[in-house]
Symmetry: C2
Subunit: 296 residues, 2 copies
């Protein structure tokens, strides 16, 4: 599949997810300012990669897209909450996100904290309204909680905050931090789709390794694009990591080694899709390749 075809397919999914986001907030039981703050950051865009991965893996194992659309959309709520809290003055203190004022700049710090809290809690409510076998819903939602809590995404952010003050950060610490902060949520986006579809244990093992590998590959690719990419595809100014004195893959092992690492991670992911056929597996293959094609 060419890059144009992949982008088109991603855009289709993005449209479906954003329409669902609008539908989910088309009611008035949430205090007005809070709802505005939640929707503001949800509307800020992005590829909606996490819901896409959940939808595609769920379909690869036989579900219809609409069966897990709310569950998949909730993963975007969790991703968005993490961005809103990461941007806070006490955290990364970023005034802008994707070219728009950060949530706390637009709505004030207290509302931004509460909008993040609300997005996270609402995500769990949404996941638990999924009308599939209750045991699958329980297991998939428990996996999301495990991957996004103190042993996963939140723990990774704590490590990131301490690493950012440590000029001696090594590759192992960087890997651990990205593994928790970024890859866990991407992994569980894939995994939850497969669990909800009733995939077998050996399939779940493939999905888990696939998800972790492309999660890490995306992060390495982001680090590389920060050095040599263009602002549009990155969603932030090129060179901003270096300017912020951040430890990245290129700053630790150089650009060439970083590209090699990204390629190896994508190869590992591709290996785990090998057993699967059909349009959804094909799309996952193309999506994996696309991560490193962007770097060429």
């Amino acid at each position: 599949m060419g890059q144009a075809r992949i982008k088109e397919k991603l855009a289709d999914y993005k449209q479906v997810i954003e329409t669902n986001l609008e539908k989910l907030f088309a009611e008035n039981s949430i205090p007005r300012e809070l709802k505005q703050a939640m929707q503001y950051s949800l509307a800020a865009g992005g590829k909606r990669l996490r819901p896409v991965l959940c939808l595609v893996w769920g379909q690869a194992f036989g579900l219809k897209r609409e069966d897990i659309l709310d569950f998949a959309t909730s993963l975007e709520l969790i991703h968005t909450y993490s961005l809103v809290h990461d941007d806070l003055p006490a955290m990364d203190n970023d005034d802008y996100r994707r070219g728009k004022p950060a949530n706390h700049i637009r709505f004030g710090e207290s509302t931004a904290i509460l909008a993040g809290d609300a997005l996270l809690t609402e995500a769990f409510r949404l996941m638990l309204t999924t009308r599939l076998q209750p045991e699958r819903v329980r297991q998939a939602t428990a996996e999301v909680a495990a991957s996004t809590g103190p042993r996963g995404m939140v723990g990774g952010q704590v490590i990131d905050m301490s690493l950012s003050e440590d000029p001696e950060t090594g590759l192992d610490s960087l890997k651990q931090m990205h593994g928790m902060k970024t890859a866990e949520l991407i992994k569980v986006s894939c995994l939850s789709g497969a669990i909800l579809a009733g995939a077998k244990d050996e399939d779940l093992d493939n999905v888990r390794t696939f998800g972790t590998s492309i999660g890490l590959a995306f992060q390495v690719a982001d680090d590389i694009l920060d050095v040599e990419g263009d602002n549009a595809s990155l969603g932030k100014p090129v060179g901003s990591d270096q300017e912020a004195g951040k430890t990245t893959y290129p700053s630790l092992i150089g650009l060439e080694e970083s590209k090699k690492t990204a390629n190896q991670l994508v190869d590992k992911a591709l290996e785990r899709i090998n057993p699967y056929q059909g349009e959804h597996a094909d799309f996952l293959r193309d999506l994996s390749n696309y991560i490193v094609q962007r770097l060429e």
Copy 2:
């Protein structure tokens, strides 16, 4: 039952819950500083009212205490996260909580925000490990999410932040705010125990009204004790609401009317326990009466 007997029984439950809290954190998969910050605020004490209510209602409908101990304990994680975030400088800006430095004073603001996020997420993970019928676990956890998100506790805190700047706050706004900010979590603590035990719809209706009524009664009683109580039973200095210029029940309708309101709410709760017999129903009756007895 005399007040001494109720206090003894509450102390027994408190011990069981605090032992479980220690057990739940006796592992090392959470980054050290984050775990310390989470445990610090969990150890700050209180009556553990929310887990107690979940345990007692679950047992009233036939469960064993240990079947829902982790689920019940998770409600204390949620209550604690809400206190940690409420105390933040951007929110109520409280430096002390129960006589100890607030989480953000002890660990810094970024860690306090993340400790709150971690407590909330970990609560959902814990709830979803409950080994009872998956459909009941799904429903009970969904109810907790609904009651603590933008339509419940978080929404109530947003309204509280805006009311605190409004000298014209009326009784209706105050009721709505406390209903969302305080009563929803207390209600769902009762409700989730009953759902997990497989209680019927008409029973759930009783439990729901019981929980909402005593949730509101507790809040009115707290407002009253802030005017005429002693520091020890209140957990904060007497008169601190008035000093902070907070709108309360006594400031709006006077002490006598506030006591009448508390009594009416407790009567409403008692009415809904009428149909039930046995030691657990008796304890709930005593606990309800205890709320207003404290005021005499």
